[in-house]
């Protein structure tokens, strides 16, 4: 029986006709009581369950998921990992996440295929260049490596850029340690490691209601019956408002659809991640060869996991403007994920007015890169009742006190 993945286990199973592989995690049935319940089997929920067991020794944990694990936004994003934020609170948090990603394949004994191929933001006018300069300075002050290059250097380092673009490329900011990872592997790796530590992963189990006694959560009522626990964490971005409302908790979140696309697969031709805010484009190439590109938010409330046609056209036009050689490629798939949009574009990792109920939400369009740190900090809050030092500014109280961390303006997040 093979439990640890290694070159040796591959060799051994090769001689054993591949008969010894076990399912990566246990598909569990719920018990009646747990020390902690995590709602949501996406990256953040799975990471939370793993760090509850790993960092805090709480192994009697149920992770409940309405569908299948990794099937929500974890499976619908463009898998970009970066930490190019402006304010110290957010920069430190996302940088911690990038560092956890760097060691994650080893920590989980599961290859998450993190490829640090660099992450470029391009400037097409003088003002854009000034913003990049400001951004680079902020990153360097926050201890995050950043490189600012002029247009000639950008052309040299990114293959295939338009020789004669309508919007000239005046410069670019590269975060060399940014890149992309395999989204399913992140979910499955956390699931496998959490399951090995004793966490029950319960799929196809929907939360219908919360059991509340004297202002404190005592469990949840699910499609598999009641499951009791005095500590419940929620990581269901996209549907945060809907699930929290069942606990009587209101969140300052609006749900919008963000769509993404992949092209037909081609040979390796783009070895980095390129974001061009002015042309509305971001794209990279997956290991399968597909170009992965994203659009902007459809700016009206939506729980429909599909995007609208105008944005599809705009995203395609932006790619062709930057990379004319891609104009003949066809879209292979199109989809959308539902994003929790918060006024200041800073996440929420917080206790709530309901005792024992903690939330991880408000990731906007960029939750994937935060999975390790989001899980780490929610687990810390659930285990200790206190906010993790890295997430102290991410509480719900900031909307009352006014202490917003306004990344919406500071790092030019487009919503």
């Amino acid at each position: 029986m093979t439990r640890t993945y290694s070159a040796l286990s591959l060799l051994r199973e090769g001689f054993n006709a591949q008969q010894g592989w076990q399912p990566a995690w246990r598909d569990a049935e719920p018990k009646s009581h747990y020390d902690a319940i995590v709602i949501g089997g996406g990256g953040h929920g799975l990471a939370t369950a793993y760090y509850l067991a790993k960092n805090h020794g709480i192994t009697n944990v149920a992770l409940i998921e309405r569908g299948w694990i990794g099937g929500g936004n974890t499976g619908r994003n463009t898998t970009i990992i970066r930490s190019n934020y402006f304010f110290p609170e957010t920069a430190n948090f996302f940088e911690f996440s990038v560092k956890l990603y760097e060691g994650l394949s080893k920590a989980l004994n599961y290859n998450i295929m993190f490829s640090q191929r660099g992450m470029w933001t391009l400037a097409h006018d003088r003002h854009g260049l000034e913003m990049l300069r400001r951004s680079a300075n902020a990153m360097l002050l926050n201890g995050i490596d950043a490189e600012l290059h002029d247009g000639a250097m950008v052309r040299k380092l990114i293959p295939g850029l338009n020789e004669n673009p309508r919007f000239p490329i005046l410069g670019g900011l590269n975060q060399p340690r940014g890149g992309s990872a395999r989204h399913d592997a992140v979910a499955w790796g956390y699931a496998r490691a959490a399951s090995a530590l004793g966490v029950d992963i319960i799929q196809n189990c929907e939360v219908h209601d919360f059991i509340v006694e004297n202002g404190h959560v005592r469990g949840v009522v699910t499609s598999h019956g009641a499951i009791r626990s005095d500590t419940v964490g929620m990581a269901v971005a996209g549907h945060s408002s809907v699930v929290a409302a069942k606990a009587g908790v209101r969140l300052p979140i609006q749900s919008f659809a963000l769509q993404a696309f992949v092209s037909e697969p081609v040979k390796p031709c783009l070895d980095t991640v390129v974001l061009s805010p002015a042309t509305g484009t971001y794209l990279s190439q997956s290991d399968k060869g597909e170009l992965v590109l994203g659009a902007g938010l459809d700016l009206y409330l939506s729980y429909a996991q599909r995007g609208n046609i105008p944005w599809m056209e705009r995203a395609a036009a932006g790619v062709v403007e930057l990379f004319p050689a891609f104009s003949r490629l066809r879209f292979l798939r199109q989809w959308a994920g539902i994003c929790d949009v918060v006024h200041d574009s800073t996440p929420i990792i917080s206790k709530t007015d309901l005792g024992g109920f903690y939330v991880n939400c408000g990731w906007g369009t960029g939750g994937f890169k935060a999975i390790p740190a989001g899980g780490w900090c929610l687990a810390h809050a659930m285990a200790t009742g206190e906010a993790h030092p890295l997430a102290r500014g991410f509480g719900l109280d900031r909307f009352r006190t006014g202490a917003l961390i306004d990344e919406a303006s500071a790092s030019g997040i487009a919503h």
Binding site: L251, S302, H343, F399, R400
Partner: protein, 94 residues
């Protein structure tokens, strides 16, 4: 893709419009009597229903007028359109 029936111009494509968010949000007041909770609620907390939502739209590339729309956030089906200053009963659109 939405086809929005502007009360002033008739049905047009969604690219001519811009959504202005939830309708019928009331500013608390008088300003020095409103609590921090009331201000937070007014500034940051919005209905985010999975179902019918009342929202304001602007016919930006048309008549430039604002109006209200009742729209389902799952199917995107528009069930009612009514002018600014008017209200309709809950569920009246569906």
């Amino acid at each position: 893709m939405l086809l929005i029936d502007c009360p002033y111009c008739g049905p047009r494509s969604e690219i001519e419009f811009r959504c202005g968010g939830e309708s019928h949000v009331q500013r608390p007041g008088p300003h020095d009597a409103a609590s921090d909770e009331q201000w937070a609620d007014y500034l940051f907390y919005r209905h985010n229903p999975k179902g019918e939502h009342r929202e304001r739209w602007l016919h930006m590339a048309g008549c430039g007028q604002w109006f209200n729309v009742a729209r389902d956030t799952v199917t995107h089906k528009i069930t009612a359109i009514y002018r600014m200053g008017e209200t309709i009963d809950a569920g009246a659109g569906s």
